[in-house]
Symmetry: C2
Subunit: 282 residues, 2 copies
């Protein structure tokens, strides 16, 4: 293992290992924690990985504990990488005051406004620093797909749209699909990126799809009893319109009766794992 990656715990799960690590992030200028699930196949050689970006208030632990994803990842021979959702251990003004902004809410952007720009560079962290660090230290073969939930669904979409060469496939659960046009995104982008809304377009999946298209076939699940859908935070209709205009293949499944919780994610994670597994193993 790299000297810079410190193992915090290791737990057997479905014949593989759930391992948590700590490290000093140069990109974020703070200490970070993360989790990796290594399937049994990783004992025989490097394996591909599904990167999972979590939503508001989450850490690396939510998906690992609640999604029920280890079972099929073990069977398919896929690793799962769960980064945290923001820089930690910093103490910027107002950073810990809201559950939808600051700590736990990095929005996977590179902040350009002070004081956030000194730490809140989650996009570079998850697309550059972490892949390099983990693939050098762990049995990961550098073949990646990416998915996520809510804020992390937004994160997965913009990572794949802005760095398509890094991923084989992308999917999302109830993503914040159009953050420039919803209250959560408005609050976060104003602070992290500033008031010039033109600069927001580079971090909004709908805007990116309209401006540059997308070669991925997108898979998105959205519960139709999701209270944040009804509050206008998620805007799958905007994603649908952008994909239609840009002729991007989108499978948007409105799942009847499902809410925003991990019960929703667990119910459909196997289909996402198989979707990614087909691309990761080819």
């Amino acid at each position: 293992m790299s000297e810079s990656l410190r193992e915090l715990s290791a737990q057997r799960s479905f014949g593989g290992w759930h391992r948590r690590y700590g490290h000093r992030s140069g990109t974020l200028d703070c200490d970070m924690e993360l989790a990796v699930y290594l399937p049994p196949a990783a004992e025989h050689g490097p394996v591909p990985a599904l990167w999972w970006l979590s939503g508001l208030t989450c850490t690396d632990e939510n998906f690992m504990q609640k999604a029920g994803a280890h079972r099929l990842a073990a069977e398919l021979g896929l690793a799962i990488v769960c980064p945290d959702t923001s820089p930690r251990g910093t103490d910027l003004p107002g950073e810990h005051d809201s559950w939808d902004f600051g700590s736990g809410a990095g929005f996977y952007v590179n902040a350009s406004r002070e004081p956030w720009s000194a730490h809140y560079r989650m996009f570079d962290y998850v697309t550059r620093e972490l892949p390099s660090l983990l693939e050098a230290a762990l049995p990961l073969n550098g073949v990646r797909s990416i998915s996520g939930h809510s804020m992390g669904g937004h994160g997965a979409l913009i990572c794949a749209l802005k760095r398509p060469e890094l991923y084989r496939s992308v999917s999302a659960f109830a993503p914040i699909a159009n953050p420039s046009a919803c209250p959560w995104g408005d609050k976060a982008f104003s602070a992290y990126l500033g008031e010039d809304r033109e600069t927001w377009k580079a971090w909004d999946a709908c805007e990116l799809i309209r401006s540059q298209g997308c070669d991925f076939a997108l898979l998105v699940d959205q519960g139709d009893a999701d209270n944040f859908l009804h509050d206008g935070q998620l805007r799958p209709e905007a994603l649908e319109a952008a994909c239609e205009d840009a002729r991007v293949e989108l499978t948007l499944r409105r799942q009847p009766g499902y809410d925003h919780s991990y019960f929703f994610i667990a119910s459909f994670i196997d289909e996402h794992l198989r979707f990614h597994g087909r691309q990761l193993s080819r």
Copy 2:
């Protein structure tokens, strides 16, 4: 629904429903909460149920969120019932001071010593009051199996041993198999039952098996990297000896490298669900 059962939330999961309820327990003389998973089959008629008893510090939520059990329960047409682990909302002397005693640690016994005897009657609660209440109000057909983890594995074993007519099958994960002879049990039984250790035998799976035998074939999983195993809290070797002496069929599987966590439970819950499903559906 019974007037006495108040629905707190309902969430779609694997085509069925995860529902949480509140009610006033006459047995425990306090307000309680619990959770039920109803599989899709429950929309067409009453279904059998696996009762799950959780361990120290848990509530009804841990198993539902972390075990990954809904997927196969939905497929097999089994409900899951998760009671809480102790009376709640009371404020007895010392009740909330330790994580291994009092609230969150009812040990599924009927306490005989004051002040605990006024509320801590979890055995009657899970074997009498709750089955009557839930089976009158929900699409449950009264056919039951029981399982649990750690303190709840102890609970599952004593429920099945003391009231075999209520269950079709019983299993356990890392149960406190011999509470009369471990620090956790010693602390809890001294307070709930008093210093006369003879009275403890009626609440100890090993003692019950030796005194009365057992017609169930027992399935027990135990991780061999479980720190509580090494601390002498679980004592599967005592269960093994009791079953051998009483000629009880015990399948005790020592799972290499697994610890005491929900990753261990999730890794083997499908096998327990199939084990119970065979008995519940016959």
